[in-house]
Symmetry: C2
Subunit: 220 residues, 2 copies
DNA sequence: TTAAAATTAAGTAAAATTACTTAGTTTTGT
DNA sequence: ACAAAACTAAGTAATTTTACTTAATTTTAA
């Protein structure tokens, strides 16, 4: 491979421009296209078939993990490097399952970034030190082995049903059981049950934790 | 001014590296130093006295607005360009009050960014179109004129007392009134009152909204 | 050194949540 | 068509929050 063709997907124009400038200062790397949301990323990859897609997790329309999953399924020749610009490490396992070839946390430097990019472009894998520790941890604990297939997917990491998701949506709109019941034309008791089950499934003990967890995992 | 000396403050190394690459591709701009949190930003500015400090709002230790306020007070010759990488426009007024010379939202492109930087470096002001609209709006409505001095500051936009902030902190740790009471050695009733007053001041009607608003405005 | 602000905490009471269990009905997948 | 899963909703009960008011004490700033 002579030149590495890269597609950048991030909803911050400036971050994209910055990374682009950074990459194009290197010889042997060309940013051939960009996308500002997940769906666009897929289209752009389809159009260009780059060597590497660099993708941020949090994006409108479709999140980075879903994008990676699609790419892994439909464009096997495209390698993916996931950037988590939002300090959390919680998507690592999901990213790997989705087929990501690399994963960097926000603490990553230019040097590490370039190293990762080259590694990924050449068909290798690159995960930051912290990430590797997480994987190891998951591996030894055996509770969520990376290769295991019965892990819940990112769209539904907690096994929520459609109705539960719908109700979660309403809860996140600050609606109480009465309002939810009215809106869905079910009894208040049913709304309560759904709420109760949601709490159990998400392992939280009040509204606030529910809200946080839901946002954290982008459940709605 | 021959060369514009810039200091970059952002907690994402990669974003910093990216913007640096972008800036240094331009002639006449030099990134002389960097900082990864607010306090560091102040130190670095003190040490270097750059022409422009480019600063993200959300940073550990001390947020961008506070940094700008300090700079405006103590290093008048340093111009400040605030980047809001997090879609919200709510800090515009505060940023301007704090003395920011420029303000860009995450939608800003490289071109706009460079334009803003040059403008700010030469002692001018630059605010994105959207931002200008917000200012105009505030101005005509008169409810928060930019020059008015009785607007609540960013650390305390809702006029919370110290105790209230402390209790808000505990609430955000998912503690209920009983737990808060025990921890602070006050009666449960007092904790309830504080919670009630917090809700009133933040104009929310349940825990979840409280949590959201608190995070939104970084009250803790 | 006062007045203002903040903190404390009681009373009252409605509303809502939390924490289950049981169980009938509907939908869905194979 | 049959079983499994999902959705519905009732009962019961403890706990918590929400929504005030009133008021004594303590702290703080002019």
């Amino acid at each position: 491979m002579d030149v590495i063709n890269v597609v950048l997907a991030d909803d911050h124009v400036l971050v994209r421009d910055g990374i682009k400038a950074l990459l194009e200062d290197q010889s042997g790397i060309v940013v051939i296209d960009e996308a500002s949301n997940g769906k666009e990323a897929l289209e752009v990859v389809k159009k260009n078939t780059p060597h590497v897609l660099i993708v941020d997790i949090r994006m409108p329309e479709m999140n980075g993990i879903e994008v990676v999953r699609e790419i892994t399924k439909s464009f096997k020749e495209v390698n993916t490097l996931v950037l988590s610009m939002h300090d959390s490490e919680e998507y690592v396992v999901q990213a790997i399952q989705a087929g990501a070839d690399g994963y960097l946390l926000k603490g990553a430097s230019k040097e590490e970034f370039l190293k990762a990019l080259h590694k990924v472009a050449s068909g290798g894998k690159y995960f930051t030190g912290d990430v590797s520790a997480i994987i190891m941890n998951n591996f030894v604990n055996g509770n969520a082995s990376v290769v295991s297939s019965n892990i819940k997917s990112i769209e539904d990491p907690f096994g929520l049903t459609k109705r539960e998701k719908q109700i979660l949506g309403l809860i996140l709109q600050f609606k109480n059981n009465k309002e939810i019941a009215d809106e869905l034309q079910i009894s208040k008791r049913t709304a309560e049950v759904h709420r109760f089950n949601l709490m159990k499934k998400l392992e939280v003990k009040n509204l606030m934790e529910l809200s946080n967890k839901a946002n954290e995992y982008q459940l709605v």
